[in-house]
């Protein structure tokens, strides 16, 4: 009997190490094989949870509070599915994207493996300190991917990212230390009944520290300063991975703690993330509309789209709000990966990354522009995309509770998204002669981007199944 839960962690660790042993630049095939298996495992786990409810695994057979528990519910299953379904096409894309024997790819595959292992371990852990270790695994691997083989600007962006990540995880770690001091355990399951509304002051401070640290790692406005340079200067496959998955990991953890052990404390606090989220939508979209660089535009769009995730916090009393948040995380994950991949194709083909330089490109790369547009449809929230479903659920939840201005923010954000998406499309569809010589790009690049973009739109039609899976785990 294969337990998918454990193999989702062990498998990427194994192929990452194997890729390292094979030597610099090697390991692409191992990685792709591993990722295919992981995708199957994630589906298997989702089926099991959908049928039998949440799963728990006591590592070492000890059980909390002495040992570490791994736990999977509907939320973890959705995030795991998202991670594996983005990672596999991205791996195919990356293999075609990087010229062999370039310095930036010497340790690309082992780094990807450790990143995936960290993400999967994070989505499955039910232990605050273990979560800290997984956060560091994800954070360091992400920084390494940004920095690898880059020039001065790229290394500077990686350093800024590293210090933000370390500041965030240190704050989280202090929170864990205080929680252990107050309750004598770091297990989420054990903590849940202990942590009540009349908790000692130190527990409130611990919660605040963990929240602030994780918000910094999620790059929520105004803690977003590190994200645009890091996501824009990294190679396209890395940017895709960072925007689609890495920032979602700390968001997932905020959600997990907010709905789990810290639920008795967060009542009055819920408006803070919502307001910051609204700020992120306006500021991020505005910057995306202004920036002259293509990848910077996509990166600022990530800042804006992350804002939606935090609009749900005052509404979490209704189940629709959680569904909206998770749907937005999935929709943005698929669409943003596709958008960065398409941007990578455009940059590779034209040899430059200015939006203005894209004039007339659509005639030469129709499939890529189509993928960019499809991903844009999801980001704008047009039907029938998954982004539409997410916004629909959000607006429904907001209106049901009388918070019409949250609905207004969501609608305004969609219009702003149209602003920056059409900026690119209009330029590319200009009936102008192409300003740059268009280099040939491997077909794999175009088709993998197309696949993810299509998935982000079509998922809107299968949203019910995803919502059913999410619900399957919510009852413990």
């Amino acid at each position: 009997m294969i337990d998918p839960l454990i193999w989702l962690i062990l498998l990427p660790l194994a192929w990452a190490t194997l890729a390292f042993l094979l030597g610099p630049g090697r390991g692409a095939r191992t990685a792709i094989a591993g990722l295919s298996l992981q995708l199957w495992l994630a589906f298997d786990l989702a089926m099991k949870i959908g049928a039998g409810g949440p799963a728990l695994h006591a590592v070492g057979g000890w059980g909390a509070p002495l040992g570490i528990d791994l736990a999977a519910d509907g939320l973890s299953a959705v995030m795991l599915l998202l991670a594996q379904s983005v990672a596999l096409p991205l791996a195919l894309y990356a293999r075609a994207y990087f010229a062999p024997d370039k310095t930036e790819t010497r340790y690309f595959w082992p780094l990807i493996g450790f990143l995936l292992a960290g993400l999967n371990a994070l989505f499955l852990s039910a232990d605050l300190f273990n979560l800290y270790v997984t956060l560091e695994l994800v954070g360091l691997a992400a920084v390494g991917l940004v920095a690898a083989g880059g020039g001065a600007a790229q290394v500077a962006a990686a350093l800024r990212y590293l210090f933000a990540a370390l500041l965030g995880s240190s704050m989280y770690l202090l929170g864990v230390a205080l929680i252990y001091g107050a309750y004598g355990t770091v297990s989420l399951v054990t903590l849940e009944p202990l942590l009540t509304a009349d908790a000692p002051r130190i527990v409130w401070m611990a919660g605040g520290l963990m929240l602030a640290g994780l918000l910094l790692k999620t790059a929520l406005f105004p803690f977003h300063y590190w994200l645009p340079p890091a996501h824009a200067s990294a190679p396209a496959p890395v940017s895709a991975l960072l925007s689609a998955l890495v920032v979602k990991a700390s968001f997932y953890l905020i959600l997990r703690l907010w709905l789990g052990p810290f639920a008795p404390l967060v009542g009055a606090l819920a408006w803070l993330p919502m307001l910051l989220g609204a700020g992120a939508i306006f500021w991020g979209s505005w910057q995306a509309i202004r920036t002259p660089h293509l990848k910077m535009l996509v990166a600022w769009s990530t800042v804006a789209q992350l804002g939606y995730l935090f609009l749900i916090f005052p509404l979490l009393a209704t189940t629709g709000a959680l569904q909206a948040g998770v749907m937005q995380a999935v929709a943005h994950g698929l669409a943003k990966a596709a958008m960065f991949m398409a941007a990578g194709v455009l940059i590779k083909a034209t040899g430059q990354d200015m939006v203005a330089g894209l004039a007339g490109v659509a005639q030469r790369l129709p499939l890529t522009l189509f993928s960019f547009g499809l991903a844009g449809v999801t980001l704008m929230g047009l039907p029938p995309s998954a982004g539409f479903l997410a916004k629909w659920l959000l607006i429904e939840a907001a209106l049901a509770q009388g918070y019409w201005f949250i609905a207004l923010v969501a609608l305004a954000g969609g219009l702003l998204a149209a602003g920056y998406v059409f900026r690119v499309l209009r330029q590319a569809f200009l009936l102008a002669p192409v300003a740059y010589a268009i280099a040939a790009v491997p077909r794999t690049l175009e088709w993998t981007a197309f696949a993810l973009a299509t998935a982000s739109v079509l998922l809107g039609l299968r949203g019910v199944e995803l919502m059913a899976l999410l619900a399957a785990g919510s009852a413990p």
Binding site: L10, P65, G67, F114, N130, V133, V143, Y180
Partner: protein, 218 residues
């Protein structure tokens, strides 16, 4: 202005937290009792080693992953522009360094062996091994490292791989990292042995790769 705000903020934070620490009631759960109660079946008699390699062994496995990952990134980032001017020292110093390094290797073996019963273990032993390598480098006996060959890569990954293999092998019984009773002690010793070698190599590598990549390029 910004400086003043941050300094005042940090001071206020510290003051609030200290006040909150001072009136914290005792915790509801007392884990040391649980550790003591389960120590006899853990395979070792030193509580910290029991937590590190058995009760919370999964943390330790991921943590070795983090360390290996850091080394990978150092390799991935590393520039190879500087010529490695091997530091030359006088033969007396070299002899002394060799002697000290062998002594340190002995200390490492002792620390590893003692870890099951008293303070010590793979981490400390590995760190001492790494220190010995750094010493040899500084004395000019051991040159800085460049691109690692297959053998060195295997050594660097060995500790993590053994840990991973044990975890996978034990999965046949159904639970991750659940050591069978009788074999717990020897399995932990096996893992610790591999960890010591790899930790020593990785920690030394963090220094020697950095030093070789960019150090003496003046």
């Amino acid at each position: 202005m910004k400086t003043a705000a941050i300094v005042i903020g940090a001071a206020a934070f510290a003051a609030t937290m200290i006040a909150a620490l001072l009136d914290l009631p005792p915790s509801a759960i007392h884990l040391p009792r649980l550790v003591d109660a389960n120590l006899p079946v853990s395979g070792v008699t030193h509580p910290v080693t029991a937590v590190l390699l058995n009760f919370r062994g999964y943390d330790t496995m991921l943590e070795i992953g983090v360390l290996l990952l850091a080394l990978l990134i150092v390799l991935a980032v590393g520039t190879h522009d500087g010529a490695d001017a091997a530091p030359t020292a006088d033969p007396m110093l070299q002899t002394f360094a060799r002697l000290a390094a062998s002594l340190m290797a002995l200390v490492a073996v002792y620390l590893l062996w003692a870890g099951a019963r008293q303070p010590g273990g793979a981490f400390q032993a590995g760190a001492v091994l790494a220190a010995a390598a750094v010493l040899l480098h500084l004395a000019g006996v051991l040159p800085a490292w460049r691109e690692p060959g297959a053998l060195l890569r295997s050594g660097l990954a060995a500790g993590f791989l053994v840990f991973l293999f044990v975890a996978m092998a034990l999965l046949s019984q159904g639970t991750l990292l659940q050591y069978p009773h009788a074999a717990a002690g020897s399995l932990i010793l096996l893992i610790e042995f591999a960890l010591t070698i790899s930790l020593g190599l990785i920690l030394a590598g963090l220094f020697l790769f950095l030093s070789g990549g960019q150090g003496s390029d003046s």
